[in-house]
Amino acid sequence: MTTEARLIKLPLNRVEGDLEIFIEIVDGVVSNAWSKGTLFRGFERMMEGRAALDGLVITPRICGICSMTHLNAAAEALDAITGIKPPANAQRLRNVAVMAETVQSDIRHAVLMFLVDFAHRKSYQNHPLGEEAFQRYSPLSGSAAIETIKETKRLLGIVALIGGQWPHTSFMVPGGVTNGLSLTDTLKCRSILAHFKNWYERSILGCSSERWKQITTLDELDAWLDEKPEHRNSEVGFFIRFARLAQLDALGQGHNNFISYGSYTLPKETAVQGMDGRLFAAGFAKGVKVETLDLTKIQEDVSHSWFQQDNPVAHPHQGQTNPFIAGKNDPRYSWIKAPRYDGTPAETGALAEKITAIDPLFTDLVAKLGANVLVRQLARLVRPVSYMEAMSVWLDELMQNPNADFYHNVTEIPDGRGEGLVQAARGALGHWVEVENEKIKHYQIITPTAWNGSPRDGAGIAGAWEQALIGTPVRDLSHPIEAGHVIRSFDPCLVCAVHTVHKGKQRGQMRLGFGR
């Protein structure tokens, strides 16, 4: 038996990174994995004692990619404390802005960060579709890579029109939003969306959104692939064909548990259909068996994290953010806490969102194959279908009622506790807030990457992608691309996951992983 422990470093740059993954390889297969967040941030501590509304300005700075979802969570937590529901138009504007950011993130991640690995010559020189993948996804010249940059750059115009700027806008406030949207600007948003949707359907899907929605089973997915060359040659079609040949449907299984907070609070009156007041239902699932989400069951465990708190396991309303430097022989190894639902780890993201909302296609795929790299990435590639449909309806409804209220007057934030639970691009994002005397008494944030990149808990149970890595075959020890596929299928964003900033190593320079 040969045992070799290797350290994989994902490509990093100055905004994110700070994720180190150690994998132990025995006879060419990953036998164990440790996910290590190497950065202490401590935003929760920055919040304590500040004015009640400060979360709206500070927490969006947690992330340069999904700042809108942090704003959304911060605003929803304050909505819960005030008990005042924002007017319908405010809800529409909040939703459309967050969705625009998420759709951009999904497609950029899919093409520029995930599929780019298919263009790795050495790894896929013998893959029948390797040369075509290189033509499509090569970083500076691939046809899909260049198109993706061109087509996604306009999307944030929607956020800028609604929120005044991107990133780090603070236009969501308790009681609604800070401004309405003029008819002209609503028309501009519609035009940006329509342009993007047209490209997305033509290039990413290869069919209309309506046709895609007809696919409800694995068999129907296969039939869709065979139906037309446009389907097979779209990015989705090519991805499925390439991934199957590379056996990505057998990689990255994991715990097969899913958590989603549900997403997008529905406006009071809207043509958009949802469930329990949300566009997509919240839930926890073991496999495809979905349970109603019980928020009291969410806890964070710091047994293997560099934090100290009275009880190693605590609900976020009681959780603390006290950094604790342990000695060499201490079991702690990460600045990420370990979130657990009823004591169990769970993965979150586009796939989890589909499972808890009982999407027929993804329920069938997971029932038959379990969670895996292919299905996780497919869920992200096609998530914009349902998002753009709702965005379009909400923009139409805004056009019909341009002068309706966008704000209910909120003069004070009463004492109390509230939660803002939303779905960010990378999954379940929660802000737990307690206000006393108009000041923040307590603030805890659990990011999606805390769920996915969690370390072990007190029982020694691995986090989501730690578990998903186990069993991964690695052909080339000098370039473990298979392990990279597994991690990237979760769309890691460590800048969110690790709880000021530590002056680090060679920041400002991109370190390339995998010999790229």
């Binding site: 100055r14 340069g64 970083p139 260049i146």
Partner: protein, 143 residues
């Protein structure tokens, strides 16, 4: 000619924050109307809209290993790209953005793109010099 001075970096990281100190200093000055000063932060590919309006673009950023510490260096577009990266990640590097720019530009490419590089450690005097140099290049081009 229209000019943008785009200051990039991260305020939270001392060694990557010099350009944003330049930004703060330029905010306090009254500059000619043709010069816009942008806080580029870590916007990566989302800086593209500023690079599709023709004119002159002056980036200001920290650099490492180009010149003696405590001094400035001016790099042209080719040299920036040569610092290189071939890969995108969240908030991609300046070299990546400039490499793909000609392929994704839907407006007018800038007539001139330069980088005023600040080699740390950064002092008040260096920030002042970088601000002066950026404005001079934005106004007159690289001499």
């Amino acid at each position: 000619m229209k000019s943008f001075i785009i200051c990039i970096g991260n305020r939270l990281l001392v060694e990557d924050s010099a350009a944003l100190m330049v930004f703060d200093r330029l905010q306090q000055r009254s500059l000619p109307d043709n010069i816009s000063v942008i806080e580029g932060g870590l916007m990566g590919l989302n800086l593209l809209p500023f690079l599709e309006q023709g004119g002159r673009v002056v980036f200001v950023d920290n650099v490492s290993g180009f010149t003696r510490p405590g001094s400035l260096i001016v790099l042209d577009q080719e040299k920036i790209i040569a610092t290189g990266t071939e890969h995108y990640d969240h908030n991609s590097s300046l070299a990546y953005v400039l490499s793909v720019l000609p392929k994704v530009c839907e407006g007018d490419l800038p007539e001139e793109i330069v980088l005023v590089g600040i080699e740390g450690p950064c002092t008040e005097k260096l920030v002042e010099e970088a601000a002066n140099l950026s404005v001079s290049i934005a106004q007159n081009g690289q001499k």
